[in-house]
Amino acid sequence: MTDATAPRAVAAAAPPATRARGPWRDVWDQFRTHKGALIAGLFLVAITLFAALGPWLWQIDPNALNVRNKDVRPIYTALWDAGAKVSWSHPLGTDQLGRDLLANLIQGGRISLAVGWAAMALSVVLGTLIGVLAGYFKRLDGPLMRFTDLMLALPLLPLLLVMMLLFRDSLRAAFGPETGIFILIVVVIAVTSWMHMARIVRGDVLALKEREFVLAARSIGTPPRRIITRHILPNVLSPIMVSATLGLASAIITESALSFLGLGFPSDFPTWGKLLFDAVDRMADFPERVIWPGLCISLTVLAVNYIGDGLRDALDPRIRGR
């Protein structure tokens, strides 16, 4: 009972024992072969540790002002400009109020990464949920898609203002000023950024649910919720990954735009986006103040993108086999 046309993979007659491992091990094996993803993963761990543990290693208060010590240049400026105002106590320099840039980058990283991840995760969950529901359940399609249209059409700024108005004080009372505003910002970014993802996911689900393996699952008696989680979701992973990667970047950027509009974190709360925004005015004279936060954002996004790429490859058995 062997097939005459067995493809090479099977014809090679893999030794039986090698396949007795969990699928996650396979995923990891494939992921490891993706150099970019591996480096990106290491970078992401490093920058997360940098933000998480930084305050213990670099014990300058990011908000400590020292106007007499303002506008210190980064230490490496001394290499080409002997007259530059540099100091080892501020290796990346200070800003116009004498706040240490390194300490601010660390503190900003904590907030930006937390906001970025949380908002991205929430928006991915929202977008996927709504996209899948609309795509899978015909009855929900119309209402949910019209709701998506509505959200797309709503002017963002008044929406933000209204949300701030309605929830800021209660959240501040419940979680304190910092956590309260964090939750609010994360929610605000998420609820205003899931729509494109929902549309894309819905389109894919519409096509997917007509595939025979979904019908097969129904014939087995798999209930819709497990059909979705087992058969639909894994197959829409790729567009979700792309949206998620882009979502992380836009969450970090949106947060800085919110600060710019006076809707974000209080001004004594540095974030990468805000450091970048504040430094644009003095870009020509103090390029380090835009370069460092800009690099942090770009590299983080780039890393997440590579990890997304690697994960997508690793999670797709068709690629994994290659």
């Binding site: 203002l161 009372a173 209080p266």
Partner: protein
């Protein structure tokens, strides 16, 4: 008279300088950049500075303030005073005489009827005139003859130079606006955007919120002016970009209101293409103390009302400590530079009204600490002071603006040095100054312990400004949170001074009372904590001559005298 002649002299010198080298329209085009774009050319429908200043190129008042805050006649022959008989002895009327031979840009004559019409236009029911305050107390405006107009007030008015004075209150043409009274005012789009005026320029193309192009008025009263044939009045962007376009790239000739940190302006000016100019009016950046309790634990409707005095800030010693703990020099250096100077006064100018109060200028942390100790606030384990289980913690709000956020950080550091915990908040300017009764974030609601912003008074008389701190002007739920007494001051001593100022006639006496009021609010009680006396900063290209920055009136008040330096 004395004032007038000196000014005439100054104008004469300028006129000679320009007249010698130029005739009307010989200097081509001048590019002006306002980072807030012009939305309308009628100051009676918008009080926005950008709109008033754009309109000042076209329509003119009877008299303007010059750069020193002194009145200069424009359409009027001279400034009426009690001495020259223009103002009646009982101070209830003022009689203006128009310059003879004035014509509108369409060639028709300017008459006293136009002045009377202007009053009717602004006071018509349902028109929503933005300059209504200019005409408060005016009971009648009548044309005595073709060129004479008399304004009657409802009582003795020691300062009668409200109506038809300054950029906010120009004279409009009766013929053009005749059908635009009351509710129809906003519908007259043509008149509101292409007004017929007496000024040096007329509008040739108006694109709302973007660009206005103007051409020299062929019927302008001085045949040699203006030197420029056309003006391009572009709007939009931000202060940084505006400064850059004049100072660094040289694309524009004039950039308005560069609200930027001094080091940023300095960096741009280093390019050498333009000049930064500053002028001081009456703007004061201040911190205001809330005398009522804004705690969110109070029921809505009682929060920040006189029912609940502030648990911390009602103690004058705490307020004083907060004031003298601030290092105003550093704030000035970091945030304002040449555009500001540290001040302790609410009324910084004119000299007649400016107090010599300088008590707060030197930071005194020892005294601040001593005051707080004395008030019973003791430092806790984390360095923050406490009293009866309450932490000395303040919520400090202001509008969103890079310089203000820097100042917030500086003040927070100063206050932390004396054991005061500070939570910062910034609110988008549109909301903060918006006055929406439904919003909790307006400066009138004052749902914070202290807040910071700039205010000023128009013209050169602070009476209305100082009278704002009266009991009946406290914003409250009943008044829909409208009212100018933001700090919720209600003190009989101050009420008495308000009445005293309103009755005083002699300038010296008025100055003395105003100084006392200023000191009461600042030095004696520290309810208002002035930080910086702010000037206006603008920039003009090095090739643009004749700019005299004016902080009492439109910045472009003398554009007829501008010329090109080759």
């Amino acid at each position: 008279m004395k004032l007038r002649t000196t000014l005439m002299g100054a104008a004469g010198v300028l006129a000679m300088a320009t007249a010698a080298m130029a005739e009307r329209g010989s200097d081509g085009n001048v590019n002006i950049l306002y980072w807030q774009a012009v939305s309308i050319m009628n100051p009676y429908l918008s009080g926005g500075t950008k709109d008033i200043e754009a309109a000042s190129l076209v329509i003119e008042p009877l008299a303007r303030f010059d750069a020193g805050g002194v009145l200069v006649p424009f359409l009027a022959e001279d400034i009426p005073t009690v001495q020259n008989g223009g103002v009646s002895e009982d101070l209830t009327t003022i009689t203006w005489k128009l310059k003879p031979g004035l014509v509108w840009s369409d060639g028709t004559a300017v008459t006293s009827a136009d002045v009377v019409f202007t009053w009717q236009y602004c006071t018509a029911e349902g028109g929503g005139c933005a300059q209504g305050a200019k005409f408060t107390g005016v009971t009648n405006v009548e044309a005595v003859d073709e060129l004479t107009v008399r304004v009657t007030f409802d009582g003795p008015t020691p300062y009668p130079y409200g109506p038809f004075v300054g950029g906010q209150s120009p004279v409009i043409q009766a013929a053009q606006f005749a059908d635009c009274l009351g509710p129809r005012a906003p519908e007259c789009t043509q008149a509101n955007t292409y007004p017929i005026g007496t000024g040096p320029f007329t509008v040739t193309n108006f694109v709302p919120d973007d660009v206005v192009t103007l051409a020299a008025n062929p019927n302008y009263r001085d045949p040699a002016k203006p030197a420029f044939a056309t003006v391009t009045f572009k709007g939009g962007g931000d202060a940084l970009a505006a400064g850059r376009a004049v100072l660094e790239t040289g694309e524009f000739d004039y950039a308005w209101n560069l609200q930027l940190a001094p080091d940023v302006i300095e960096g741009m000016a280093a390019a050498g293409k333009g000049t930064v100019v500053a002028a001081f009016g009456t703007n004061v950046e201040r911190i205001e103390m809330n005398l009522t309790n804004p705690s969110p634990d109070l029921p809505e409707g009682e929060r920040a009302t006189v029912k609940h005095p502030h648990p911390i800030l009602t103690d004058a010693r705490v307020r004083e400590a907060l004031s003298i703990a601030i290092n105003r020099d550093i704030i000035d250096e970091v945030g304002y530079g040449p555009a500001g100077q540290p001040t302790c006064n609410l009324v910084p100018a004119p000299a007649l009204y400016a107090s010599d109060n300088t008590a707060c200028l030197t930071q005194d942390l020892d005294r601040a600490n001593a005051l707080l100790d004395e008030a019973g606030w003791v430092r806790g384990a984390d360095g923050i002071r406490e009293k009866d289980g309450m932490r000395l913690s303040l919520l400090y709000q202001t509008s969103t603006n890079a310089v203000r956020q820097d100042v917030q950080a500086l003040v927070k550091a100063d206050w932390e040095a004396i054991g005061v915990e500070t939570e910062l908040r910034n609110v988008s300017a549109g909301v903060f100054f918006g006055g929406d009764p439904a919003s909790p974030d307006t400066f009138q609601r004052f749902y914070a312990d202290v807040q910071m912003y700039t205010n000023n008074f128009e013209g050169n008389d602070p009476q209305a400004y100082l009278a704002a701190y009266a009991c009946d002007k406290i914003p409250s739920p009943e008044s829909g949170w409208q009212g100018e007494n933001i700090n919720r001051i209600c003190d009989p001593v101050y009420e008495a001074m308000i009445a005293e100022l309103a009755a005083a006639r002699e300038p010296e006496v008025r100055g003395e009372i105003a100084k006392r009021m200023n000191d009461w609010l600042t030095k004696d009680n520290n309810i208002i904590v002035p930080l910086i006396y702010r000037g206006r900063v603008s920039a003009h290209a090095n090739t643009l001559g004749g700019v005299q920055l004016n902080s009492f009136d439109s910045e472009l008040w003398n554009i007829a005298d501008w010329y090109r330096i080759d």
